[in-house]
């Protein structure tokens, strides 16, 4: 009985490591990787060929170095990580969703076929064996005590892995990975190099798969193609899904339920005579059914991923003012209270008066631009210079040798009828599409052809026509993540840093984020998942993110789309705020009264061409603008 328990716990620790590794790839980074079990298998094979002796014919396999187990294990981990790097470099470059999954499925089948068919590698279908009680001889353990020792060894490694994962989960790196899962475009727009980040997560996950494989090889003392199948990953997926994707405690719970419990409970079913396959088949049916049912009825799992909850002082009247910033799991709250200065800073900044409720229904009366805007002396230098920008799709020329410039400290409007090429121009400037020709200078630096995250890091950030929040993250996390910081976001800083570094944000950033949320009237929603907000609120979150990122130029793509007049006033105030804080603005818009009110300078595009350029007033009398866009509608 005890021995049985020991073997279950050992298996549990090994599968726990496997599932935690998979959670990095699928739970956080969001990639459905079907190659994962290949990394486990490679780790197991490599551990075996490194520890066992030279093959005796007819057996054939590579290496056979008889290395000590503790040397072989890290080498096995590195080989799995390398294979993960190769697959990831190919598959993560352009592929997402099912295409990524299909290519990874292909990768693991190639490995499976190689392991099974190419005999000189791992002795084909015979597989490898002969790793008996590694470390046991050196320690002089008998069989019985070796079982306990190996359980202790696996449990120790499992705990180390769990602590590692807990730290990554709560770090800025972990949050950045989740932003990829939630919305990649937004992540790129705010400076994340998605390819590199995803690759890091993928290699990390593969390495843990290899580690678990190395332990598994020692546990089984042998490994061959009938011991694994490429689809084995589905069992691990069911564990991660049932427990709670992204939540490391949930993942462990999932392993206990889906691997240990399902496996062990079916073990006690009576054997059906002559039908040896029934029990394992039943187990797999249960796993498949649970997978489908959880996807359908509880996709977040039993323990949903917890988000960081910010307890603002004014949220909890009379309650202790806790400035807790632990990662969602496993850490005790930090009980330091914010200083009086912090609290002063958090007090709401007055927002420009909004129209009375009755007035909101009526069309707002737009005032001339300069009456109440903060005094800004428009600088004459250009922040953005576009020369000869050109892009065609098939036979359609979307942007036709456009040249224009936007001045520093000003609001530049970009208007034109539908299909004029405005949005394409925004995509070209921000790096989301590659121009066919032309140059783009941002503050004197040529940025054409750079990837979106590089442009964003230079200080040019764009928004999208429909708000692209990270729906599964809280509003506060959305705002905090708007600021990209190379230092803060490395994996190592999350792992080895002290308390301060472990946090997703520094205290000053947190204070600033709260202030910005208060300014936009979102403070009550700061712990809400951004995906639950209304369209207008999402729009405000987008503005709050820009405010947090403090770019030197922001391109707003149709910020007034679907926005009511009250919200419109807030947006006008926000744009004025950008200018006041040193962010130049380009606005793509159809709402002309709005453009007239906020823009210093307007560029008119039509059919890919810039047809006019100047202050709004000058455009009223411009015949080509009237023909192309303004028409006869009185302004």
């Amino acid at each position: 009985m005890i021995q049985y328990l020991v073997s279950i716990l050992t298996e549990g620790a090994i599968f726990g490591i496997m599932a935690l590794g998979l959670n990095v790839i699928w739970g956080w980074s969001g990639d459905f990787d079907l190659a994962y079990y290949g990394y486990v298998a490679l780790g197991a094979y490599m551990t075996l060929v490194l520890t066992i002796g030279q093959p005796t014919p007819p057996a054939q396999y590579i290496l056979g170095l008889q290395l000590p187990y503790l040397v072989a294990l890290p080498v096995a981990v590195v080989s799995s990580a390398l294979m993960g790097l190769i697959v990831g470099l190919i598959a993560l470059r352009h592929l997402r969703g099912i295409y990524f999954s299909i290519v990874t499925l292909g990768a693991v089948y190639v490995l499976y076929v190689m392991a099974g068919q190419y005999v000189p590698l791992f002795d084909g279908y015979n597989g490898l064996s002969g790793l008996f009680n590694p470390m046991g001889d050196t320690l002089g353990l008998d069989y019985q005590s070796y079982q306990y020792f190996f359980l202790g060894f696996c449990a120790f490694i499992f705990i180390l892995v769990f602590i590692f994962m807990a730290r990554v989960s709560g770090s800025r790196f972990g949050l950045a990975l989740r932003s990829l899962r939630e919305d990649e475009r937004a992540a790129a727009a705010f400076g994340r190099d998605i390819y590199r980040l995803k690759l890091k997560a993928y290699v990390l996950g593969a390495a843990f798969g290899g580690l678990a494989g190395g332990l598994f090889a020692a546990y089984l003392s042998a490994f061959n193609p009938s011991a694994w199948s490429p689809i084995e990953a589905i069992v691990l997926y069911s564990a991660v899904l049932v427990g709670g994707r992204g939540n490391i405690k949930g993942v462990v719970l999932g392993v206990v339920l889906m691997i240990i419990l399902v496996q062990e409970s079916t073990r006690f079913l009576p054997d059906v005579p002559g039908q040896p396959n029934i029990v394992p088949a039943l187990r797999e049916i249960v796993i498949g059914l649970v997978l489908v049912l959880f996807l359908r009825f509880r996709p977040q799992g039993l323990l949903p991923e917890q988000r960081y909850i910010d307890r603002l002082p004014h949220d909890r009247d009379g309650a202790p003012k806790v400035d807790a910033l632990p990662p969602s799991d496993s850490r005790t709250p930090d009980h330091s209270t914010p200083s009086a200065r912090d609290r002063d800073q958090m007090s709401p900044r007055p927002i420009p008066p909004l129209p009375a409720p009755g007035a909101a229904a009526a069309s707002p009366v737009y005032r001339p631009l300069d009456q109440d805007r903060p005094v800004v002396t428009p600088s004459v230098s250009a922040v953005l210079v576009v020369e000869g920008l050109h892009k065609h799709f098939g036979g359609v020329t979307a942007v036709d040798r456009c040249s224009f410039r936007a001045q520093k400290g000003q609001v530049t409007g970009l208007i034109g009828p539908n299909g004029a090429g405005k949005s394409t121009a925004v995509d070209l400037i921000s790096g989301f599409k590659l121009p066919d020709a032309g140059t783009i200078f941002f503050e004197g630096v040529a940025i054409q052809g750079l990837p979106p995250h590089r442009i964003s890091r230079l200080g040019l950030i764009r928004t999208f026509q429909t708000p692209r929040e990270w729906p599964g993250l809280t509003v506060l996390e959305n705002v905090l993540l708007a600021r990209w910081d190379r230092e803060q976001e490395t994996l190592w800083r999350g792992l080895i840093g002290f308390r301060q570094a472990q946090r997703v944000a520094s205290k000053s950033e947190l204070v600033q984020a709260r202030e910005i949320l208060t300014e936009f009237g979102l403070d009550k929603l700061s712990n809400e998942r951004a995906g639950n907000l209304s369209g207008g609120q999402k729009r405000l979150v987008e503005f709050a993110r820009i405010r947090m990122a403090e770019p030197r130029l922001v391109i707003l793509d149709e910020p007034m789309g679907g926005v009511n007049p009250v919200l419109g006033e807030r947006i006008v105030a926000a744009i004025e705020g950008f200018i006041a804080s040193g962010t130049s603005v380009i606005i793509v818009e159809h709402n002309l009264p709005f453009i007239e009110r906020v823009a210093h300078h307007v560029i008119v595009m039509s059919q890919g061409l810039v047809i006019a350029d100047g202050p709004f007033e000058s455009l009223r009398s411009n015949q080509s603008v009237i023909d192309a866009y303004l028409g006869e509608v009185p302004l």
Binding site: G106, A107, V113, M114, Q117, R185, I231, Y237, I287, L289
Partner: protein, 293 residues
Amino acid sequence: MHEVLLTLGFGLVTAAILSLSAVAFTLEYAVTNVANLSHGEILTIGAYAAYLVHQSTGSALLAALGAAAAGGIVALAMHTAVIDPFVRRGFGTMPTFIATLGMSFVIQNVLVIIFGAANVAYTIPQGAPHLVGPFLWTSAEEEIIISALGITAVLYVIITHTKFGKALRAVFQNRDLARVTGINARLVGAATWFLAGLVAGYAGFILAESVGSFNPYFGFSFFLITLTAAVAGGLGKPFSTMAGALIVGIALEFTGGYISASYELAFAFAILATIILVRPRGLFANARRTVFE
């Protein structure tokens, strides 16, 4: 030259089966935007249904009809029980995709419980190989090719010349827009899956007949080749899928004949990965896609 032609002949048989399987897969994809990972199991069920019918009646024709009927029913059940609830609730591509993988797991193991994991084989006479033009085919293989051509012609007429086919194409282009214009997307989805199931079930039968024996996992490994053909043709495009199947089927027969049959699967995936990376929209599309475009 003679040997090349012989191999080409065998390749055409593989391609005929593959094109039916791949067309069925791509039709499923077209109406629900789901890459059905349990597609291979429809083939497996078709093969087993034909086996049962043939054992009790002894008629190859009835076996073929039984395979098609079983495939149709299973595909319709998949659509009703899993696919449609996921699609209707807007669960997105990935969860549905994962659910189909779970479904494949369930069906394989239900088949293991019912039929056991061992290989079974038909006792349908294949006929002696004889020369048909330059190719050496058995009469069973002849029937496979002729029936595949016939089914393809029927599918062509259904998709391009009927109101149902029009609705199907509309749903593929834009599901919501199709619904707004009064198309019952659920019904079109269910009918298309049923139709695809008929074709896939029959494909399972002729595949099992041509391979010789089968077991509960046999559809899944063929599915991986199906996937290669469907992606080569461009997902969701039935007719270029057939061309993809022709290319992949013949290519596999040549690698099987000239390199080694045991690496066939690995080779199929090498083709698949290359196509996805270089021409993600299929061999016959002319646009290259990146993450953001």
